[in-house]
């Protein structure tokens, strides 16, 4: 009896320890962002922001060009995701539904492209963009982000298209639709959840991208938020309150998206497990 009680207790204890390890940095970011500076530099840490203040968020938002950079990040991210969805869904349809020469080769090619070493190619990309006279522009960033998320979008959507029963499409065609119409009216609506999760993953990649943005857009007007955040500490010295407020502002959209998305992803995985 005693053993089974212990046997039930220890996994829960370990789980609590792991939970704290996972969550503490995230908690500490938010907690610091809300603490008055006096509490942040107290001799003993103040574990909970009892005298919560918004002054650090104000400092972060009042920083030069903050809203320009928010705008830049939003534009680049949204456009990259939209373009890659448009290009990706048509290609996914071909790869999932048609048989043609080289199909397997294309799939392997995109799998390889998914592992592309973007971190290492910054020098070559920098020279190309400079020669095209496009440094400090949002266009190259948008295009590169689009291609960065394209293989993932395309390969994932391929799975979603393949999961739509072929009969639906065929019966639409019997009812007089062309193949394209059948795709648009029957398959596309059914792909909505797939489009949703792939675009969220794409959004996260583009929103977070660091090396290319660092190299290509050095002028404040053309910077994106990750670069702003990483240079924040240099600009504000040891103003940890403002830095953590900035980090919180940057992270919140992703944290919200991810928690929402994770439920879908896990549901999708278990669905696949049950049906597969």
């Amino acid at each position: 009896m005693k053993r089974s009680l212990m046997g039930r207790l220890w996994p829960n204890l370990v789980a609590v320890v792991i939970f704290v390890f996972c969550v503490f940095p995230v908690y500490w970011m938010f907690a610091t962002a809300f603490k008055p500076t006096g509490d942040i530099i107290a001799e003993d840490p103040v574990w909970f922001p009892t005298n919560a203040t918004l002054e650090h968020f104000k400092t972060a938002i009042d920083a030069d060009h903050f809203w320009t950079m928010v705008g830049n990040s939003v534009i680049v991210t949204v456009l990259a995701v939209v373009f890659s969805l448009i290009i990706g869904v048509t290609a996914a349809f071909a790869l999932a539904r048609m048989r043609f020469k080289g199909r397997r080769g294309f799939i392997i090619g995109f799998m390889l492209a998914q592992m592309a070493p973007w971190e290492v190619m910054v020098i070559a990309i920098y020279i190309i963009v400079r020669d095209a006279d496009m440094l400090n522009s949002l266009i190259p960033l948008t295009l590169f982000y689009m291609v960065m998320i394209l293989p993932f979008t395309l390969l994932t959507l391929r799975g979603f298209v393949a999961a739509v029963p072929k009969e639906l499409e065929e019966s639409a065609m019997v009812d007089g639709c062309t193949r394209m119409q059948a795709f648009r009216r029957v398959i596309l609506p059914l792909l909505a959840p797939g489009l949703m999760s792939t675009s969220l993953f794409g959004f996260i990649t583009a929103w977070n991208e660091f090396p290319l943005a660092l190299v290509l857009n050095k002028e404040a007007e053309a910077k994106t938020l990750p670069i702003w955040l990483s240079s924040f500490q240099t600009a504000f010295g040891d103003d940890w309150g403002a830095t953590m407020a900035a980090a919180s502002l940057f992270a919140v959209p992703i944290l919200v998206l991810f928690v929402f998305l994770q439920r879908r992803a896990v549901a999708g995985l278990t669905d696949g497990a049950v049906k597969g």
Partner: protein, 329 residues
């Protein structure tokens, strides 16, 4: 990079497809045969053109640059000076490259071993927990997983800050008085320790959550059969769980190797490869040599050598993935 983490995401149940074999008799509108044959290529064209242009061209360009003597002067004057294999000769005969490569390999190995071991343990723990506790732990894992890498690295700088950093405070409290004012980013190993902790923290959720999801697909009968044969908990693990999860563990390990090997952002944002360039791993080394010191040709040569190493790792990974998806392709 964080996001590529979600490599095998909610792709629904995929069905084995039947060959297309041209228009069927039941199709009401038969497209002209020749056009129908071209359709898949037309649908694929935008994706292929974009990828070749924006991924292929930088790769080729990197190769071209690596055979050029391209420093600040040539860069400003737009000069093209070919120097054959000089960059490679310099890189491969110099000490730095081999030192950085060795460091990258050890760094990757330590990270991946920790990530896989701890991630697997947490995944198995998830499977053992009750429903409420599991949801609770999953929430924690998802929060760590979701933290954007630049935000996370800023937080880690704050956790390990010399003054008022909470880690130093705790260490001093539990008896390591000398740690009260410790500067973590002053030496090579302690900087690597902070980076390592950051990477392990960010990576465990992916392994744990996916491993847990994989364990839920193991048929219960296998355990029952093993129990009938008198296998204990450990034996059940080594003889049922492990073999069943083997393909998954292989693929995940390779993915983690690739990701950690390329971990530019974590290393760069924590301390830009410092102190004294002692925490540069290959991608950071290529960046600092190429962009920072403006030896663009040299940087491109280092980048190409890094890509070759990555390609070797990737091809192993692809072979496994392709084997798994054989019937799906």
């Amino acid at each position: 990079m964080t996001v590529q983490k979600t490599e095998r995401p909610p792709s629904g149940p995929t069905e084995v497809q039947t060959p297309e074999g041209g228009p069927r008799p039941s199709d009401p509108r038969k497209e002209p045969r020749r056009l129908a044959g071209l359709t898949p290529y037309l649908l694929l064209a935008p994706a292929i053109v974009a990828t070749l242009l924006l991924l292929g061209w930088p790769l080729v360009n990197n190769g071209i640059l690596s055979f050029q003597n391209l420093n600040m002067r040539q860069f400003i004057l737009h000069l093209t000076e070919w120097n054959g294999f000089d960059n490679y000769k310099d890189v491969l005969t110099g000490e730095d490259f081999w030192r950085v490569t060795g460091r990258s390999v050890v760094f990757t190995a330590v990270n991946v071993v920790l990530i896989m071991a701890l991630g697997t343990l947490v995944g198995l723990l998830l499977a053992r927990l009750g429903r409420k506790m599991r949801t609770f732990l999953l929430l924690g894992l998802v929060l760590a997983w979701a933290m954007p890498v630049v935000a996370a690295s800023t937080v880690y700088q704050w956790l390990f800050a010399q003054r008022f950093g909470v880690v130093n405070w705790i260490l001093a409290k539990i008896g390591f008085e000398s740690m009260a004012d410790h500067d973590w980013l002053a030496t090579q190993y302690s900087t690597f320790f902070v980076v390592l902790l950051l990477i392990v923290w960010m990576s465990i959720p992916f392994v744990a959550i996916n491993l847990y999801a994989a364990t839920t697909t193991i048929p219960k009968e296998l355990y029952e059969a093993a129990a009938l044969d008198g296998a204990g908990a450990i034996k059940q693990f080594t003889q049922v769980t492990l073999p069943y999860l083997k393909p998954f563990l292989y693929a995940t390990t390779f993915l983690e190797i690739i990701w950690v090997f390329k971990a530019f952002v974590q290393v760069f944002t924590i301390n830009e490869g410092g102190p004294d360039r002692l925490t540069e791993i290959l991608p950071v080394y290529a960046y600092i040599e190429g962009m920072g010191n403006q030896h663009f040709g040299m940087g491109a040569a280092i980048a190409l050598l890094t890509i070759i190493i990555l390609l070797a790792i990737t091809s192993f990974y692809l072979r496994i993935v392709l084997k798994q998806e054989e019937d799906e392709l």
